[in-house]
Symmetry: C2
Subunit: 235 residues, 2 copies
DNA sequence: CGATCAGTTGACAATACTCAAATACTGTGG
DNA sequence: CCACAGTATTTGAGTATTGTCAACTGATCG
């Protein structure tokens, strides 16, 4: 029994050390970290936190997939992030507002590592490398948001869609073939539009010979054309 | 002569220590900081950096006003931030991308404090309080961007305008009377629209008895109504 | 196997952008 | 200090992208 726990702890330490946030941290700190960490399970569709909830700590995705989103009074949703294994989320509440600025739900059955605020802040204060990793993470996220604002304000739906398809094709290594990693409804919400419009735009791109659609599987036929679309933002 | 320089340095140290980023830092570190800092002047409309430029450091506004923005190929502009005295900008490039994700120009004749990347990173690594201040700053900015994405995606122009007017009236202490702190063209760009639309929406709010407009000076007549608009996002 | 949900398509409405023109401002040089 | 040039702001008319509502199909899940 003791053994099992030690094993579990050991593997958690190892896992934490492979995380982008904690990569390269000394064993000693990883031990401390794993000491204050709690692993929690969430079922598909379960709420992890809601906008305005007090942020007493933040999370790392261990297994599964998490969606961070906002919602308007009349129910329209805008996805901010989709996070997968290794990704941290909710740090903002730890360092600034004390309360979460958006909602989080599990998209699949997930296991998360929860790190409580106060203990974690102490660890950051004692560990410059960790602080710099955190600064890098937040900075990257700021860049992502910059691009999202750019897309929402300066591009139209076809442009955003084209940019997303190119992003997926770069991320996945399968050449001109790619998988939408989200249901089309969720993708619409990520791109700041609605399912009907997304559906029409996908058909349009196919009709104009830029892509071929087979369910969630897309083949890029005219990459040039997509790049043009993504840059200019219109037809 | 030596005296003058000492005076200058001393006042820079003092000024840095009053900045939100460096508040509460020990004298010793402030001295170091002021040692690596350079004060630079920019004339109104001068470019400070452009998207993609290598980020060899970041800036603090000492005097003046700076606009951070993106621009689409066909010339439409989206303002991300307006920064004034005491505000830092360009940190993102220091900690993540190494290159600036947006453009920066001086809106007025300005004096900026430039802090070079490498020296500054060393200082952060040696100074946990500074690291935590930076984390708080970046986290707050992330929250602001979250709100901006929310506004762009989930609210229509009248809603964004109403939210901005309420924000100004909270920031300025003058009760129901407020000043737009930007030209209407610039405000349009901040709200993700164009001058024509902004002009029409201001008239509309006035026509419906929510505000009274006198140039750049606005009086809120029906605060309730504005709040409703800002929350729901539509008419 | 029925029910709920995801996706698609059509007809329509509306918000916001484009283009154009008139008017009011601002700042600069003479 | 005024005249002029270049901006900023406002208003009008028309267009377009995208959202709304509704109906229908097909998939998924108890």
């Amino acid at each position: 029994m003791v053994n099992m726990i030690e094993n579990r702890d050991k593997s958690l330490v190892k896992w934490l050390g492979d995380t982008s946030l904690f990569v390269g941290m000394e064993e000693q700190y990883l031990q401390e970290l794993s000491g204050i960490a709690m692993v929690v399970s969430y079922k598909r569709r379960a709420t992890i936190f809601s906008e305005g909830d007090p942020g007493n700590g933040f999370y790392l995705v261990k297994e599964g997939k998490v969606k961070i989103y906002m919602i308007s009074p009349d129910g329209k949703e805008q996805i901010l992030h989709i996070f997968g294994p290794g990704d941290p989320f909710g740090e903002v509440a730890v360092f600034a507002s004390q309360s979460f600025p958006a909602h989080a739900v599990a998209l699949e059955n997930s296991r998360l590592v929860f790190l409580p605020r106060d203990d974690f802040v102490k660890l950051v204060a004692a560990n410059p490398a960790l602080a710099l990793n955190l600064l890098a993470t937040l900075s990257q996220r700021l860049c992502q948001f910059t691009k999202m604002i750019d897309a929402l304000s300066l591009k139209e739906v076809p442009g955003r869609l084209a940019a997303h398809l190119l992003y997926l094709s770069k991320k996945q290594v399968t050449g001109d073939h790619l998988q939408l990693e989200l249901s089309k409804t969720q993708l619409a919400s990520l791109l700041g539009t609605i399912p009907e419009t997304l559906s029409r735009m996908l058909s349009k791109l196919q009709r104009e010979g830029l892509i071929v659609i087979e369910g969630a599987s897309i083949t890029i036929v005219d990459r040039e054309g997509l790049v043009d679309l993504a840059e200019i933002g219109k037809f």
